[in-house]
């Protein structure tokens, strides 16, 4: 059997490097962790197929981010058609946790409020916020993933945080139980 252009080891290395960033980007668009996971897996599956179909991928990071963004954008449109703006995780019952039920409920309400405020922000701002807070990336790292200048990251991050803080303060969500 001839050798594949991208070996399993190379693919695993690419996955290890970028899967969290790809998930974060998908999450920023969908605001749904499991949907973001599906998009992440689909993105890497497409990468594997594309790379081994004879097409050269010069910049895997840029390719992955672009495909993930396109998939997430398409998915968010179809998800909106299916469910409106309600995240799918809110359709089910509240899962059990170690927190007391009232604290768990308050926490869920706070999360729901944050999600609805995030939903009002532009998706590119959410991409930066997700990378900043979910992945603990600093501005130069985010700039490298998204392919935009560091100064733009600083500006957009500052603006997005300000808007989030204002909106959450207005509805009284400033801390978690």
């Amino acid at each position: 059997m001839p050798e594949l252009p991208v070996s399993s080891q190379e693919f695993d290395a690419t996955y290890a490097l970028y899967h969290r960033a790809v998930w974060a980007l998908a999450f920023a668009w969908r605001l749904d962790s499991s949907a973001a996971m599906d998009i992440m897996q689909e993105t890497f599956l497409r990468y594997w197929k594309h790379a081994n179909s004879g097409s050269e991928i010069k910049n895997p990071k840029a390719w992955l981010m672009k495909v993930a963004r396109n998939l997430a954008e398409d998915d968010s449109k179809s998800a909106f058609r299916r469910h409106g703006t309600i995240p799918t995780e809110l359709f089910g019952t509240i899962p059990g946790s170690s927190m007391p039920p009232d604290a768990e409920l308050q926490r869920r309400e706070a999360f729901q409020a944050i999600r609805s405020v995030l939903d009002e922000l532009p998706a590119p701002d959410r991409e930066i916020l997700t990378m900043r807070y979910a992945l603990d990336q600093d501005a130069p790292q985010i700039a490298e993933y998204l392919g935009i200048p560091v100064s733009a990251i600083h500006m957009r991050l500052s603006r997005a945080r300000q808007r989030l803080a204002e909106k959450l303060s207005a509805i009284g969500v400033t801390q978690l139980p």
């Binding site: 979910a134 945080r161 989030l164 959450l168 978690l176």
Partner: protein, 110 residues
């Protein structure tokens, strides 16, 4: 809950808790189609694509050949000559269209 305005720095811990709570608890292994299947599919796709391309090119060349060897004037009338030999007063054209027609000469009255 406090309803006074808070700075983003105050809310940073809240943002961090929210986003980190969304992270998957466990990351799955890298997805992958088996290498054999990938090779077979790639091979089938390449072979089928080649045949389709070859067929299309052959059909295009054949069609071009038919067009270039087809008679220029399949109806048999030589209209191009008619137009080439036409005169400004339309005399030859009239003869071609109405071969039995005798032009009426103007009558002179003395």
């Amino acid at each position: 809950m406090n309803r006074t305005s808070h700075s983003p720095e105050d809310l940073d811990p809240l943002f961090r808790v929210y986003f980190q709570a969304q992270l998957p608890k466990a990351w799955p292994a890298a997805p992958r189609i088996s290498e054999t299947v990938t090779h077979q599919r790639a091979s089938i796709r390449t072979t089928r694509g080649s045949w389709i391309l070859a067929g299309s090119v052959a059909a295009l060349l054949g069609f071009g050949a038919v067009l270039s060897y087809a008679p220029q004037n399949p109806t048999g009338t030589n209209d191009s000559d008619l137009l080439r030999n036409a005169t400004a007063n339309g005399e030859k054209l009239d003869k071609h269209i109405f071969p039995d027609h005798q032009p009426k000469l103007p009558e002179f009255e003395p």
